[in-house]
């Protein structure tokens, strides 16, 4: 389970923003919070399989670009209609300017 994968460099994502990362046939979303921490979730919204990386990050919320479903990207919690299924999250660490996620 200690399958750490390099997703991007820290400078690839602005603060309070998100980026798409595809690996091994799967798609993820990597976030940089306003207080400069990194997080990772599944890349697709649980409502209609839309890439969340096209959505807007505000504080600790990612909003789906299609129907404004909202999730807390730090915990994966769904925050109201139309989304009701939580988003899977992944451990993240930063090492020498690289963002690594444990996709297990």
């Amino acid at each position: 389970m200690s399958d750490w994968v390099e997703a991007c460099a820290t400078g690839d994502i602005d603060e309070e923003d998100v980026m798409r990362f595809d690996h091994g046939g799967r798609t993820f979303a990597i976030y940089r919070s306003p207080d400069d921490e990194f997080f990772a979730t599944d890349g697709l919204c649980t409502h209609e399989k839309v890439h969340l990386a096209d959505g807007l990050v505000m504080d600790d919320i990612i909003e789906c670009p299609k129907h404004n479903g909202r999730f807390n990207y730090k915990t994966g919690d769904a925050r109201g209609a139309p989304v009701c299924v939580n988003l899977k999250t992944y451990p993240v660490k930063v090492d020498a300017g690289k963002v690594l996620i444990q996709i297990g």
């Binding site: 096209d54 299609k66 129907h67 139309p82």
Partner: protein, 409 residues
């Protein structure tokens, strides 16, 4: 004992309202009455995914299990026939009556009928899942589909029909498609996409007559052109369903007239979604009626809060989207409030038109592009519109300036 909450209309708006009442902790009876045989479901896919799917399925807002778990009583296949305001009760077409403390009308809208003789079984409208299944059966390779009306439902259906290999012609009486609410520059891109996919679009010519013999529809245009089709789908707008409210003596003004808190002229009866007109604070109280999925959802939730006494005013900015082929369009705000536009290019052909009022206030933003290219900036524009911001036009037009930075200003 509480008589409870009754919701008439089990679509997006009514379904969301019922769920919201429970999320808010209300523990009295909640009854959701719908005239369709289905669970509450999402309508947007009906003109999109459901049309191209091998076996279209309902996208339910709540399953039977969820409704049961939340003690929401869903009465389906039944119509509300009268409201007794004095007795606080609604009578239903099955002969029963439902008492209420608060009543929510979420009756939606119904397709505007083409006021013309000669329509028959091959002239159809799209509103329900049942309608969608009937239309879907005709969308086969080589079949000729005439779409009457170049609005969103007609165009989305045209795109789906082409995907399935049908021959499609769109007939629009106005000089261009999407006259209502979509800037010409964006409508032209959608027009060109349809033409590139092989759709014939005829604009600026009205229909003189229609003849439907049950096997074929023959349409004669005012200009003399004759069109034969295996199916004519009519998409010329929608009208609010207000019969029940009007019979009960509630004020009607292009829909059930409600105040900012969604209360009708009877304070114990609220209305929300497509069926109501309401004052939009962000445009100085301009009365509007919106036929949009997100509005139905937001107003359903707001109605639930206000049924429980929150006294909260509707404050959202209108938002709307459409998907056709690989293109997605999103519009925030009402573009007819604008007097000038600023264009912002986002790359890959995607762009946004910002609509500014005379005093420089941002009042709407219309975007189009591949996939969800415009989504994020339209969302930020929506927030700027809600804040009544007056961003500098040169900042809006420059890709180098992040819209998010304007929000903080």
């Amino acid at each position: 004992m509480a008589r409870g909450m009754v919701i008439i209309g089990a679509g997006e708006c009514g379904g969301r309202a019922a769920l919201a009442l429970r999320e808010l902790g209300y523990d009295g009876p909640v009854t959701l009455v719908g005239d369709e045989p289905h669970l509450p479901y999402e309508r947007p896919p009906l003109s999109k995914e459901a049309m191209v799917s091998e076996a279209p399925e309902i996208k339910a807002i709540a399953s039977d299990a969820i409704l049961a778990e939340k003690s929401i009583r869903h009465i389906h296949s039944v119509q509300a026939v009268a409201i007794d305001r004095a007795a606080h009760a609604v009578s239903l077409s099955d002969g029963s009556a439902l008492p209420y403390d608060k009543l929510l009308l979420a009756t939606g809208s119904t397709p505007r009928k083409l006021p013309m003789p000669g329509l028959g079984p091959r002239c159809v409208y799209l509103r329900t899942f049942t309608d969608a299944l009937a239309i879907r059966a005709h969308l086969t390779a080589g079949n000729r589909i005439a779409v009457i009306g170049g609005g969103f439902i007609g165009l989305e259906l045209a795109a789906a029909a082409r995907k399935l290999g049908a021959a499609v012609i769109v007939i629009e009486a106005q000089p261009r498609i999407l006259m209502r609410g979509v800037p010409a520059e964006i409508a032209q891109i959608i027009h060109d996409a349809h033409v590139a996919e092989g759709v014939d679009i005829l604009c600026g010519d009205g229909i003189a007559s229609i003849a439907d013999d049950g096997n074929e529809v023959r349409i004669t245009l005012v200009g003399g052109q004759e069109i034969s089709a295996d199916l004519a789908v009519i998409g010329i707008g929608a009208v609010p369903v207000t019969g029940l409210a009007a019979e009960a003596g509630l004020a009607i003004d292009n829909g059930v007239a409600v105040d900012a808190e969604l209360r009708s002229s009877d304070p114990d009866i609220l209305a929300a979604g497509d069926c109501c007109s309401f004052p939009l604070a962000v445009y100085g109280g301009r009365r509007v009626r919106l036929e949009a999925w997100r509005n139905a959802q937001e107003q359903g939730a707001l109605a639930a809060r206000n049924m429980l006494g929150a006294g909260e005013a509707h404050a959202a900015v209108p938002w709307f989207w459409s998907d056709q082929y690989g293109l997605s369009l999103q519009i925030a705000g009402l573009s007819d409030e604008g007097r000038s536009t600023v264009r912002r290019d986002l790359g890959d052909g995607a762009f946004i038109l910002f609509h500014l009022a005379e005093d420089g206030r941002l009042v709407a933003a219309s975007g189009i592009g591949p996939g969800n290219a415009v989504a994020r900036d339209i969302r930020l524009a929506e927030m700027l519109i809600g804040k009544r911001a007056k961003p500098a036009p040169e900042a809006l037009g420059s890709q180098a300036v992040k819209l998010k930075s304007l929000l903080a200003a």
